[in-house]
């Protein structure tokens, strides 16, 4: 037969140059813009810097640094590959173009591969050209101050991989949808979705589940859930020690993910029904998945929004309702391409999807049910870290410091006791004033994190047992692990702000640190939590770095240190003396308890606003005895506010007395 013969005389090779040519004509401009963008941000900037009289001081990040405006590079990296994907596969979304392209004798897979080849060439070329300019420059002149060849190579690798990843995700979404605008938006959503969902779910878990630490989860691993976040994170935290935005292993993984999206898109393209051009979703089977997904995400977001502002379960549920309804309506509008979706059919659908979403939200916390009641057995725990916050721990990890774990069996047991009490009294939605953070390092090498917020009186006994262990003190007072030989400078600043003492002499430093450590080792729980008197701040400069966690509050109850200061003649400068205080105001602790927060300082603010006349003292003798009051109390009989400067009524410190320990002259006055 005639057609059979014709089929056999196939002269066309498997490669069709005309398609590539057409792609170049169609989307070549994207490649040019990408090239120019990168060129002006990177090589051009380099030439400008080198020709300056006084070049800026480069940071150690080379091409990812601030000279080469990394954020601007990211702007092009985020936008151009997606534009490429949208314009290259635009024909899939326009009926006429789609019919035209698919009426030719070429299988869809081959057509797809041609466009992908065009896209890859057009995207890699601008990066490669800039790379060549930079490497030639590096060969011709000394650019060591700005970047190294290794750094440049990494730049090439990172930009190529991330460009291809964003491009392939864009292509994937393009084969999934029938509208180019939806393709654009959905691609960014997809690239960000895992991280966004992760944030939403982590937030909800920490408000449903006792002990779940959203902070840990978010800080530790959020970047692994979204390549966009991964790229941006690098810049956000400036003192981060990372030299490159994305490490090698993630970069390899992103490359593999891009390849996976290539295969997936090919598969979808072959299966795609071409009549879906112009429809929001090309795969009709995905419509319900999309609807329930959008409803679910918006419900979670609504819940989070209202919980953050109201902190109540009823508002949270309200948030689910409002968010979910909004999401359902938005998804329906998108799928039907009209805003007029308010009819009976959708109302029924809204019930259905609402029910599914409620079920999903209700199920999530159940998956963590064991988590809530779980307390490690002391025999399985190798060591444990306790502090009042996650950040304290993370900082030590980041700075590669030795972490003061609790290791002795008894101390671990008292930590576990405290943990058990916390599970009993804590409520994830109620924001207690005190936060407890646990890290268990188990015998099998795994780590367990828990975080609770409660008011400390509820667990005072258990907390005391932990706090008074020598090991906990090492956590609370990092200064116990400080080697005095490494201290270059020591500064003691009194609370009043007047005076202060600093010394550089290693012998003095060593002597001070020694007595300070002795005092802290012997400190009682009460002195840790509610110390008496006005403290001074001690700052250390260690190995030339003034920014370190060793700073400590020096309380008058540190007898040995006080003795040492007096002996050396520094006491008057280092501590606050009655003479430094201009005036002391004494108030009766108000009877009515309708203060939202019991913090004494806030109570004083309230009393001042209400115009209550305090009892004023100016004599050094009286002030001296008033300075024996306690800090951080939440209950008592009298409040004392100390003013250091008559011109500045905002600079004051507050102590308080109970009925028993108050000086007689106040009691007499108020009775």
């Amino acid at each position: 037969m005639k057609w059979g013969v014709q089929g056999m005389r196939s002269k066309t090779s498997s490669f069709n140059k005309e398609i590539i040519k057409q792609d170049f004509r169609n989307v070549g401009w994207i490649s040019i813009v990408y090239f120019l963008g990168l060129f002006f941000i990177v090589p051009m900037q380099l030439f400008m810097e080198m020709s300056k009289e006084e070049p800026s001081i480069p940071d150690d990040r080379g091409l990812f640094g601030s000279i080469f405006a990394y954020e601007l590079q990211l702007f092009f990296l985020f936008i151009m590959p997606l534009l490429m994907a949208v314009f290259l596969f635009r024909y899939l979304h326009v009926k006429g173009a789609s019919d035209f392209a698919h009426s030719f004798p070429m299988k869809r897979g081959k057509l797809y591969q041609h466009h992908i080849v065009s896209g890859v060439i057009l995207l890699i070329l601008p990066i490669l050209l800039n790379y060549l300019i930079l490497i030639i420059t590096a060969g011709a002149v000394d650019v060591q101050d700005y970047y190294t060849v290794t750094n440049l190579g990494y730049w090439l690798w990172l930009f190529s991989t991330m460009t291809l990843l964003i491009f392939m995700v864009g292509v994937f979404v393009g084969t999934l949808t029938g509208l180019s605008a939806v393709q654009g938006i959905l691609t960014y959503i997809l690239l960000f979705l895992p991280a966004g969902l992760y944030v939403l779910i982590a937030f909800h878990l920490s408000s449903y589940i006792k002990g779940y630490s959203g902070d840990v989860v978010l800080e530790r691993s959020i970047q692994y859930f979204s390549p966009l976040v991964d790229l941006v994170e690098f810049q956000r935290y400036a003192p981060d020690p990372a030299e490159v935005p994305v490490e090698k292993l993630p970069l390899i993984i992103y490359g593999l993910v891009a390849a996976a999206f290539y295969v997936l898109s090919l598969f979808l393209y072959k299966k795609r029904s071409l009549e879906s051009a112009g429809r929001a979703l090309a795969v009709t089977a995905l419509n319900p998945v999309f609807k329930v997904g959008v409803t679910f995400c918006f419900a979670l977001f609504g819940g989070m929004y209202f919980t953050v502002s109201q902190n109540e379960y009823s508002w949270m549920i309200m948030g689910y309702f409002i968010g979910g309804t909004f999401g359902y309506a938005a998804a329906s509008m998108l799928l039907e391409k009209t805003w007029r979706v308010f009819n009976w059919r959708h109302l029924k659908g809204w019930f259905g999807y609402g029910a599914v979403t409620c079920a999903l939200i209700a199920i999530i916390p159940f998956l963590w049910q064991n988590y809530e009641s779980y307390v490690p057995k002391s025999s399985e725990v190798e060591k444990v870290f306790v502090s009042n916050g996650y950040w304290q721990y993370q900082r030590m990890v980041d700075e590669e410091m030795e972490i003061p774990f609790i290791t002795s069996v008894e101390s671990i047991q008292s930590t576990i006791d405290l943990h058990e009490q916390l599970i009993e009294v804590s409520n994830p939605l109620e924001d207690g004033r005190d936060s407890f953070f646990f890290v268990y390092r188990m015998e099998d090498g795994s780590e367990i994190y828990r975080q609770y917020r409660v008011d400390e009186q509820e667990v005072a006994e258990a907390k005391k047992a932990v706090y008074e262990t020598e090991e906990y003190k090492k956590i609370e007072y990092p200064v116990l692990g400080l080697d005095p030989d490494k201290v270059n400078r020591l500064h003691i600043g009194s609370y009043s702000g007047q005076g202060g003492k600093e010394f550089y002499d290693p012998e003095l430093i060593a002597g001070f640190v020694e007595v300070l450590k002795e005092d802290i080792e012997g400190i009682s729980y009460e002195d840790m939590v509610t110390p008496r008197g006005l403290y001074s701040n001690v700052h250390f400069t260690v190995n030339g770095n003034p920014d370190n966690p060793f700073h400590v509050q020096l309380h008058p109850s540190f007898e040995r240190t006080m003795g040492w200061l007096k002996e050396k003649g520094f006491y008057e400068e280092a501590m606050t003396l009655p003479a430094d205080i201009h005036r002391a105001d004494v108030y009766r602790w108000p009877e009515n308890r309708d203060f939202s927060n019991n913090h004494v300082r806030l109570i004083v603010e309230r009393l001042k606003e209400e115009g209550i006349e305090p009892l004023e003292f100016t004599s050094d003798e009286k002030i001296g005895s008033l300075m024996k009051g306690q800090q951080n109390q939440e209950d008592g009989a009298y409040i004392v506010a100390f003013y250091f400067d008559e011109r500045n009524s905002d600079h004051y410190e507050v102590l308080s007395f109970g009925k028993e320990d108050a000086p007689d002259f106040i009691k007499e006055h108020f009775e």
Binding site: T12, I19, F100, H102, F104
Partner: protein, 299 residues
């Protein structure tokens, strides 16, 4: 050549085509008639291998057409809304077609350039609608397809060009036995080119006919008699339609022409004329009995 059996197609849960079956022979020109929304374009997109049917058999050149690049080498589809690559000239489009179709004939392309008198270096988007349709024909005919599928081919062409295109199609059918499927909402447009027609209505094929048979089979006659004893009901004629104006009968009769005149002679008519019958009239009378408002479908 084109074989469709039990074809079903739904788009967005709307049934577009329901159990469509028909057959187009090699070297035949088949007219697919139907009103707007009858499903013609969808059917043609399926026949061109663009859309996939939900159910049924669609075979072109004796193979399934969908995703079959070997068959598609010999099939060209011209849609009613023409599409050209943006900013392309005819010459560039020709390069594109050449790279796609193995059967592309450069000689044919050059010959047709003389027929159409169009500047091949001008951007196609700058041409008028009618000129764009000529470009589409030019490109399609240069690919020398065995099967040509054209949706609303004469839309926007003036009478001269219409005639030119018609003769080009007929020439290829005569010389190479090209098979042509033409769709139209207007029977008059295609009656002088097609040899077969099929009528698609609301997604279903209402009827299929060979036009030559049809024309030979239905006749419009005008007769008048001296005596008043002629009654069309009692005669041996298969009368599809009758009118009486005074003593003159106007009849549409099915049957062999000689048989009809022999029957008429029996009544010794004063006047016996055979009048020309348009294809449209034939369809209207053919289907009149079936109760369809046929005019609305075709015209």
């Amino acid at each position: 050549m084109i074989e469709v059996q039990g074809l079903h197609k739904s788009i967005d849960r709307t049934k577009i085509l329901k159990d469509v079956s028909f057959y187009v022979q090699k070297g035949s020109i088949y007219g697919l008639l139907g009103s707007n929304g009858a499903g013609k374009t969808t059917l043609m997109r399926i026949l061109a291998g663009i859309l996939k049917q939900n159910d049924g058999i669609v075979r072109v050149l004796e193979e399934d057409i969908f995703e079959n690049d070997k068959v598609k080498q010999n099939v060209v589809f011209l849609p009613d809304n023409l599409y050209f690559l943006p900013q392309y000239t005819t010459k560039q489009m020709a390069d594109y077609y050449r790279s796609m179709y193995d059967g592309w004939s450069e000689e044919r392309y050059e010959n047709l350039k003389r027929v159409f008198h169009l500047d091949e270096k001008k951007k196609i988007s700058q041409f008028s609608k009618g000129m764009q349709r000529q470009v589409a024909f030019w490109l399609a005919m240069s690919a020398k397809p065995d099967v040509l599928i054209i949706d609303e081919p004469f839309d926007g062409l003036d009478a001269v060009m219409r005639q030119k295109v018609r003769s080009l199609i007929i020439q290829d059918v005569a010389e190479r036995e090209m098979t042509v499927l033409i769709s139209s909402h207007n029977l008059r447009e295609v009656e002088d080119i097609c040899d077969h027609v099929g009528i698609l209505h609301k997604g279903e094929i209402l009827l299929e006919r060979d036009l030559d048979d049809l024309k030979a089979d239905v006749h419009k006659i005008q007769v008048a008699f001296q005596e008043e004893d002629f009654d069309p009901e009692t005669s041996n004629l298969d009368v599809l339609h009758q009118e009486k104006r005074g003593s003159v009968f106007l009849l549409i009769v099915r049957g062999n022409e000689t048989a009809i005149s022999a029957e008429m002679e029996k009544y010794r008519p004063l006047v016996y004329d055979r009048l020309p019958l348009t294809l449209e009239e034939i369809f209207i009378y053919e289907m009149g009995g079936a109760g369809y408002a046929f005019e609305n479908i075709i015209v």
